[in-house]
């Protein structure tokens, strides 16, 4: 795994600020690192990212958290959204069971309730306290960003 940068405390704080701005919640993240494509990864607190990045044929460390985007935005992975979604207070779309299933299957959804959502920004789609995934709020609908491999089949 080609690691571009293991983030120090200040750099992690920057990520936390981006999350706070977009999702209105404070997180205390640890052990984040970046790969070349601006992807952010998160590993367990006891995982030495530096050590394992030098291990032969190291394929993956921790899990994919999200990707940094322009304009101080972040596209969260499903698992990143699950971590953030527990505390998120803005850019959250609440859906019912039927819409949740539609979204999980990879479709755009039109019936949802927005909590402080910003148009053309990423939103976390939730059913009650469950995080279903991430989309982009468009005019009257949420564009689905769940990767094919992760969709409900």
């Amino acid at each position: 795994m080609q690691i571009k940068k293991i983030l120090n405390r200040d750099e992690i704080k920057e990520i936390e600020k981006i999350i706070e701005k977009n999702y209105g919640c404070k997180l205390n993240l640890k052990n984040l690192f970046l790969t070349g494509d601006e992807k952010i990864w998160i590993a367990g607190e006891n995982v030495s990212t530096e050590f394992f990045s030098s291990v032969r044929n190291c394929y993956r460390i921790g899990i994919y958290f999200g990707k940094l985007k322009r304009n101080y935005k972040i596209k969260l992975s499903m698992e990143g959204a699950t971590i953030v979604g527990k505390k998120a207070k803005r850019n959250v779309a609440i859906v019912d069971d039927k819409e949740a299933r539609e979204f999980a299957e990879g479709n755009c959804i039109h019936k949802f309730e927005c909590i402080d959502c910003e148009k053309n920004n990423f939103v976390i789609v939730k059913r009650n306290d469950d995080t279903i995934g991430v989309g982009i709020l468009r005019e009257g609908y949420i564009e689905n960003l769940i990767p094919k491999a992760r969709r409900m089949r």
């Binding site: 367990g44 006891n46 190291c58 394929y59 993956r60 469950d130």
Partner: protein, 283 residues
């Protein structure tokens, strides 16, 4: 072969799932799902489940993992719940059911090096680790017979590739693939894997060797080889509520050392696949 052997194949009505406590408590999950479940008597996070279990939102969200009940047994032979911050190597990890189970037992603490030699199978491992939210997992793509990790582990799970004859009652094709030459070839590979796993295990560390094969050549004979060639001592281990039997001591004129401390899980005893497990301590 028996003329009516097809009658022995079962298509079980009850499948098994493991609650992913990295994402949800069992009680909360039980309130969300609408298929029928029963507790697996010997494992608090395991459930028998009947109905459509692979097309639910809860499965999609990674709240539970569909895992054959027998495959939940080998990780339970490691004391990971008491020693969460340990370093564990899962030598032949793909597709990752046991890896993610161990991550859950360790509550995402410590480190699990989940290794597999097959790059295609690693993709399934990556998917399952991500879906489970198992942050303490590092995935490597090495041949476990020749590990190059620059570190040693407190625990090694060697769930070795095998002929899978323990699945014989559920998967008919296993019968068609069965041949003695394949068993012998697999046993040779398994012995080399034990040697590779031994080298990356710390002194006083524990290795769990398991297969889903019922062939003595792939099981007791491998343990006999390990005990005679390395500083490994088999330890008796029991899981409350799980019906097990000792290993086979004699087979085809050979006597196996350590067989009385090995565990055999026969399909008819717990409605699982057949499994063989042995816990060995390095001295």
């Amino acid at each position: 072969m028996l003329p009516d052997y097809e009658k022995f194949f079962i298509s079980p009505e009850w499948k098994s799932i493991r609650v992913n406590t990295l994402k949800i408590d069992k009680e909360d999950l039980l309130q969300k799902i609408d298929f029928e479940v029963k507790q697996i008597e010997w494992y608090e996070h395991g459930l028998w489940a009947k109905g459509e279990i692979s097309k639910t939102l809860e499965y999609y969200m990674g709240y539970y993992h569909i895992q054959e009940a027998g495959s939940m047994i080998p990780p339970l032979f490691l004391p990971l719940e008491e020693d969460k911050k340990s370093v564990v190597i899962d030598a032949c990890a793909a597709p990752g059911s046991k890896t993610t189970q161990m991550a859950m037992m360790m509550e995402n603490k410590g480190v699990i090096i989940a290794n597999d030699v097959n790059i295609k199978r690693i993709r399934a491992l990556v998917h399952n680790v991500q879906k489970a939210g198992a942050m303490n997992v590092v995935i490597t793509n090495q041949d476990a017979r020749r590990f190059d990790l620059n570190s040693q582990a407190d625990y090694v799970l060697l769930d070795a590739p095998c002929t899978a004859s323990g699945k014989i009652a559920k998967i008919e094709s296993i019968v068609k693939k069965w041949n003695y030459a394949r068993i012998k070839a697999m046993a040779r590979k398994q012995k080399k894997l034990v040697e590779g796993a031994y080298k990356v295990l710390k002194k006083d560390g524990i290795m769990v060797y398991s297969t889903c094969s019922i062939e003595p050549e792939e099981n007791e004979e491998v343990i006999d080889f390990a005990v005679k060639n390395f500083n490994l001592e088999p330890e008796k281990f029991k899981i409350k509520g799980l019906k097990t039997r000792n290993g086979i001591k004699k087979w085809n004129g050979k006597e196996y050392e350590g067989a009385d401390k090995c565990v055999r899980v026969w399909p008819q005893d717990n409605q699982t696949e057949g499994f063989f497990i042995c816990r060995l301590r390095k001295y």
